[in-house]
């Protein structure tokens, strides 16, 4: 697992209180990991902070799964 993927996973485990094994690339934040709309906003903000990036709202809307988050960050992190 890439460094980015493991850091993303750690944030999700911490914020959503889920088990590490549930955080698979296909897992959807809302459908699989029990996040509501506020949780999702918080996750995006945590990713921004952790990777020192800004994720515009229209891009954030497309980040629905763990894999989406990892790909977006891999492409945009400095």
């Amino acid at each position: 697992m890439s460094d980015i993927a493991s850091r993303v996973k750690a944030i999700i485990v911490d914020k959503l209180g889920v088990d590490e094994t549930e955080v698979t690339p296909e897992a959807s934040f809302t459908n699989d990991l029990g996040a509501d709309s506020l949780d999702t906003v918080e996750l995006i903000m945590e990713f921004e902070k952790e990777f020192n990036i800004a994720i515009p709202d229209d891009q954030a809307e497309n980040i629905g799964t763990v894999g989406d988050a990892v790909s977006y960050i891999e492409e945009n992190a400095k």
């Binding site: 914020k15 959503l16 209180g17 029990g34 506020l38 949780d39 906003v41 918080e42 903000m45 921004e48 902070k49």
Partner: protein, 417 residues
């Protein structure tokens, strides 16, 4: 118009001298002080370094990790007290009409720690706003009522009351009135506060409202004593389940007491000082007696606001004398804040519980820490000093007064059909 009767069928609390109703009563009866040096944060630079904190509270025993992050401490205390009261009242949620079950919950400030942390984070940053999406719904002082309703499915009237240190008394009175009027059959009511933190302590310190007697912290909350120098901050929650009498009777519920009257008034005088003759307190107590259809002679115990501030305790005793006349010398008065400290928005709820348990046990909890008579307080008043007193208590009145000049008095009566 004939009002429906309202009874108390469940109690719950977490406060500086008890993490359950049973422990709370035992310590009230024994005159135990809840004061200690502050452990929640480093208070070494503050004028006041002690408070009545809740002890041995581990949120993870009550909530999962994800929940904890979304609940300010004031809401955590609320949910813990409600849990005990709901178990106590033994309501069958499956068979209840939950649209007739409401929540009215008081808090003076709500999530002040959440506010402090979030604003501190912003102030320490580069100006980029990175507020948590949970900032507002964690902080607002009505959110405890919202969380309670979600937990138990109560879909009736739902809101928070805010009137500083009278907040939870206003909640109890509102809940009583809505049941009387048929707007609901059951209410979870009460209040919670959690402001033993840098902002809460610092703010009250600047007002010169708090005792700064760091040397004698254990006995610093000393209502009516000549050497009193301010209140001692407390924290926690108190919960009462109020229920329409026929509703309670039909399900064979245990009944603690009847809530028979509420009085409310405004001092219209000063931001923080009480009116010197206790104008608002007089009006509030009189209204409560009228509302309860009781005479002053029917009250055997007054759980006073009695915060231990130099300016607050005198007008309240004067007001009691004005309202109760000669009977003021026959009834018992006590300030349980001498033991719990001042729970601010939660004060009315934990003192309502003290009043109800006093009726149930026919015992008046004491005013502890009194060392020296204050010549401005009539010595003929029975302030229940030092030790609990056994006596007949037919009805008890509980006073709370808040900054802003908000006054509320609630009367509980020994239950009989």
């Amino acid at each position: 118009m004939e009002f429906r009767r309202v009874v108390v069928t469940g109690l719950g609390t977490i406060n500086p001298i008890g993490n359950s109703v049973a422990e709370y009563w035992e310590n009230l009866e024994n005159g135990v002080s809840g004061s200690g040096m502050i452990t929640h944060f480093d208070a070494s630079k503050f004028k006041t370094q002690f408070a009545c904190e809740v002890k041995n509270f581990d949120p993870t025993e009550h909530f999962d990790r994800k929940e904890v992050r979304k609940l300010d401490l004031y809401t955590q205390y609320a949910l813990v007290a409600v849990k005990e009261a709901m178990a106590d009242c033994d309501l069958d949620l499956e068979s209840e009409d939950l649209t007739k079950a409401g929540v009215i919950w008081g808090s003076g400030i709500g999530g002040i720690k959440t506010f402090l942390d979030e604003v501190k984070g912003y102030a320490n940053g580069d100006g980029t706003p990175r507020f948590s999406p949970f900032f507002i719904p964690k902080m607002i002082s009505d959110i405890a009522a919202g969380h309670i309703s979600m937990k138990y499915g109560f879909q009736g009237p739902n809101y928070g009351t805010v009137s500083a240190c009278a907040s939870s008394s206003h909640a109890i009175i509102d809940a009583m009135n809505y049941i009387r009027l048929g707007k609901a059959d059951v209410f979870i009511t009460g209040g919670s506060e959690a402001s033993v933190n840098e902002a809460g302590l610092g703010g009250f310190n600047s007002m010169q409202a708090l005792s700064t007697n760091n040397e004698e912290y254990q006995t610093a909350s000393r209502p009516f004593c000549k050497s009193r120098d301010g209140f001692v901050m407390g924290e926690g929650a108190g919960c009462l389940i109020l229920e329409e009498y026929e509703h309670a009777k039909a399900r064979g519920a245990k009944i603690y007491a009847e809530v028979v009257g509420g009085g409310m008034s405004g001092d219209a005088y000063h931001l923080t000082a009480t009116h010197p003759e206790g104008r608002g307190a007089i009006n509030s107590m009189k209204m409560a007696l009228n509302d309860a259809d009781l005479k002053p002679e029917d009250i055997d115990y007054i759980n006073v606001h009695g915060t231990s501030t130099p300016v607050g305790d005198i007008p309240e005793t004067k007001a009691v004398q004005t309202v109760f006349g000669e009977h003021a010398y026959k009834l018992n008065i006590s300030s349980t804040k001498s033991m719990t400290g001042h729970l601010l928005g939660a004060a009315g709820s934990v003192e309502a519980i003290a009043s109800i348990l006093a009726i149930n046990n026919q015992i008046v909890p004491p005013t502890i820490n009194h060392k020296e008579k204050d010549p401005e307080i009539d010595e003929r008043l029975n302030l229940t000093l030092h030790k609990a007193q056994k006596r007949e208590i037919r009805a008890a009145l509980s006073n709370t007064f808040g900054f802003g000049g908000h006054n509320a008095s609630v009367i509980f009566k020994s239950f009989s059909e």
